[in-house]
């Protein structure tokens, strides 16, 4: 076991809309150790982004509200009982960096890349001069493999390609020497070749800075290549978690199995029919207290509809967790 870097317990987040409440995160607990790559997977709308945004306290309030949750980062209490404790400005962007699918949303379109570096760096290091910050920024751009870094510092974000913009965000994380990088679908909009470059870069940075990475993605191939551990989310809850090997080679939850079966394989003997998960995820405004996957489950038992939503419990003794009634007895043993 590594040293615990981030610990999130019992996070609940809802959006209070006129006429309905969207329960986006329903009692989620997860952790990240130092040097670890942790993946959060699941279909869109299942609460992956809201979970990570809550850690950063970037939830739009109203309509959103963190209802509960205790979050500790490197010994600093960020949230206690859903209430903010630490000054997030000392953590956000500096010790925890965030990279989004569309980097344009986190880059300011009207400022040159270089000026944005200066702002980010000086926000966290009051004593740093503009010149020092600029130099550090150029060095970081160089480190993330952007050619002509000094020239690029004078570019506006729209003058760069999608892959380059993603590198710029990674460069922010590099310049700040962030301990934790939360990458939310960082490569979804990119071509596979560029995706591979961006991911390799993230892994290099991680190694060099001894940092940890949370990667939010629906690409299970990426997870297989890069993640140490996986959390599978469905309808605002974690339904299975474990090491990548456990989840990918021995999935337990019918949802995890469904996700894996739906992916087309490249191996020669795998040109069989794809097995989709029928239907669609439920609306998070209309959940009852039963298993949220029930309507789509291919393995449900006669007794499932009459049972309360299953809780996440350890399967066996090796840290593999699953929330499914199929394993009620095995888990109890």
């Amino acid at each position: 076991m590594g040293e615990r870097l981030l610990d999130c317990k019992n996070l609940k987040v809802s959006f209070f809309m006129t006429g309905s409440t969207v329960q986006a995160v329903r009692d989620v607990s997860f952790h990240v150790d130092r040097n670890e790559v942790v993946a959060v997977v699941g279909e869109s709308g299942c609460g992956k982004s809201v979970t990570q945004m809550s850690i950063m306290q970037l939830i739009q309030t109203p309509p959103g509200k963190i209802l509960s949750g205790d979050v500790t980062f490197d010994g600093i209490e960020l949230l206690r009982g859903g209430k903010p404790i630490a000054d997030m400005n000392q953590v956000r962007g500096n010790r925890i960096a965030m990279i989004f699918q569309e980097p344009m949303t986190s880059l300011n379109p009207v400022f040159k890349i270089g000026n944005q570096f200066v702002d980010v760096l000086r926000a966290h290091n009051k004593g740093m001069s503009k010149k020092e910050a600029w130099a550090l920024g150029a060095k970081a751009l160089d480190e993330v493999g952007i050619p002509d870094a000094e020239l690029r510092m004078r570019n506006y974000p729209f003058e760069l390609s999608g892959g380059m913009r993603q590198r710029v965000l990674i460069a922010f994380a590099v310049a700040c020497q962030a301990d934790l990088i939360i990458a939310d679908e960082p490569t979804t909009a990119l071509d596979v070749t560029v995706q591979a470059q961006v991911m390799e870069l993230l892994m290099d940075i991680k190694k060099k800075n001894n940092s940890s990475i949370v990667i939010v993605t629906h690409n299970l191939g990426l997870v297989s290549r890069y993640a140490d551990r996986i959390y599978v989310m469905y309808a605002g809850q974690i339904v299975e978690s474990g090491t990548s090997e456990q989840i990918l080679t021995d999935p337990k939850h019918p949802y995890t199995k469904g996700l894996l079966n739906a992916v087309p394989q490249i191996q020669a003997d795998k040109k069989s029919d794809l097995v989709p998960i029928e239907g669609a995820p439920p609306s998070l405004a209309k959940l009852d207290d039963r298993c949220a996957f029930l309507p789509r489950c291919a393995m449900k038992c006669d007794s499932c509809p009459s049972k309360a939503s299953p809780v996440l419990r350890e399967y066996g003794t090796d840290g593999h967790m699953v929330a499914c009634h199929l394993f009620d007895e095995e888990v109890a043993k």
Binding site: E43, S44, S161, G163, M164, D191, V192, T193, V194, Q195, A196, Q197, E200, H218, N219, L220, G221, L222, V223, S224, R225, Y226, S244, E245, L248, T249, G258, L259, L260, N261, A262, V263, P264, Q265, I266, Q267, A268, K271, D273, L274, V275, P276, I277, E278, A280
Partner: protein, 334 residues
């Protein structure tokens, strides 16, 4: 053995003029598609893959005459579509349809799904009673796996997968023989993606459709296509049976693309060899001299920068556009 192709594309070129200022001074040419040839038999699927900007969408649009081509021929049942007069083309237009990555952008937000499909259906000019129209639209909805009630919904009230189904139903309303599918599942979750792929396969079996399937996800293409074209900067660099794409890739670009895809199989992934490509696909405005792939090719030699290779058809079913692919595959196989 070979049947007559339903679609045959010969040396297709689409060059866009790059103009500047209000005087529209021509400052350059974007060779978006620069000599593409392929053919597809009735009832089969041809896949076109490659990184964004390599000319996949433009190829599809040129076949439909949605963009004007600068050269080449597109045969549909042995008739040259590009040479047809407007009126002639109007007659066959409905036979070749296109579905898009983001059906949202191509569905009128103010119309219900029902009227979106109806509008296309009645445009064929056939006489129908309104009961017949309702019946036909409802049949189309059911055919793509939606309920009749879904017809009442507006695009924003539908999920991504449902919108793609409406896009497919709208294409089917023309009774097409060929559908050009432009990244139809790229924006969908894997679970939903599988539903749409299965639907397209079912429709192909039932209606004898021919697909030109454009995508950047090689595993998806491998799954749905019979034959595959790998495109790079407006050219096809390799063509092969889709079963050979992962087992016998010959062109260095194809190999690099394949090695870049992470696979879900955990143990396989841990043992795969990787070829990393430097840089990104260049803009077709600054098309490199010689082989367009040479600046990123890990195996490029002097000749590659000077001369452009032509298709090597030693294996007519598996042509490759590379000077050194034979040496390369000798090296890597032992």
């Amino acid at each position: 053995m070979k049947n007559d192709p339903i679609i045959k594309v010969e040396n297709l070129k689409v060059h866009f003029g790059l103009t500047k200022g209000i005087a529209k001074k021509r400052i350059g040419t974007v060779k978006a598609v620069d000599g593409v040839s392929f053919s597809v038999e009735r009832g089969k699927t041809i896949g076109i893959v490659g990184e964004s900007g390599c000319g996949k969408t433009t190829t599809g649009k040129a076949i439909l005459r949605m963009v004007s081509s600068s050269g080449g021929k597109v045969y549909f049942h042995n008739q040259d579509v590009l040479a047809m007069k407007r009126k002639e083309h109007d007659k066959i237009k409905r036979k070749i349809q296109m579905i898009f990555q983001d059906p949202y952008g191509s569905l009128d937000p103010r119309q219900s799904a029902f009227s979106i499909i109806k509008e296309v259906l009645v445009a064929d000019g056939k006489k129908r009673t309104s009961e017949e129209i309702t019946k036909e639209v409802n049949e189309l909805l059911v055919m793509v796996g939606l309920s009749e009630e879904m017809g009442e919904r507006f695009p924003h009230e539908l999920s991504g997968g449902q919108r793609q189904r409406i896009g497919i139903a709208r294409a089917l309303a023309c009774h097409p023989e060929v559908i050009i599918c432009d990244e139809p599942v790229s924006a969908l979750d894997v679970s939903i993606q599988a539903q749409i792929i299965n639907l397209l396969e079912k429709l192909q079996r039932e209606l004898g459709l021919t697909y030109i399937f454009v995508a950047h996800d090689l595993a998806v293409v491998r799954h749905i296509a019979d034959y595959v074209c790998i495109m790079y900067l407006g050219n096809i660099v390799e063509m092969m049976d889709s079963d050979e794409m992962f087992t016998k890739p010959l062109h260095p670009y194809t190999k690099a693309l394949i090695s870049a895809i992470p696979v879900v199989d955990y143990h396989l992934e841990k043992t795969r060899k990787r070829i990393e490509l430097e840089g990104e696909i260049p803009s077709p405005i600054n098309r490199p001299t010689g082989c367009p792939f040479h600046p990123r090719c890990p195996y490029a030699k002097d000749k590659c920068a000077k001369e452009a290779p032509v298709m090597d058809t030693t294996d007519p079913n598996h042509p490759v556009c590379c000077f050194y692919y034979k040496d390369l595959n000798k090296e890597t196989s032992n």
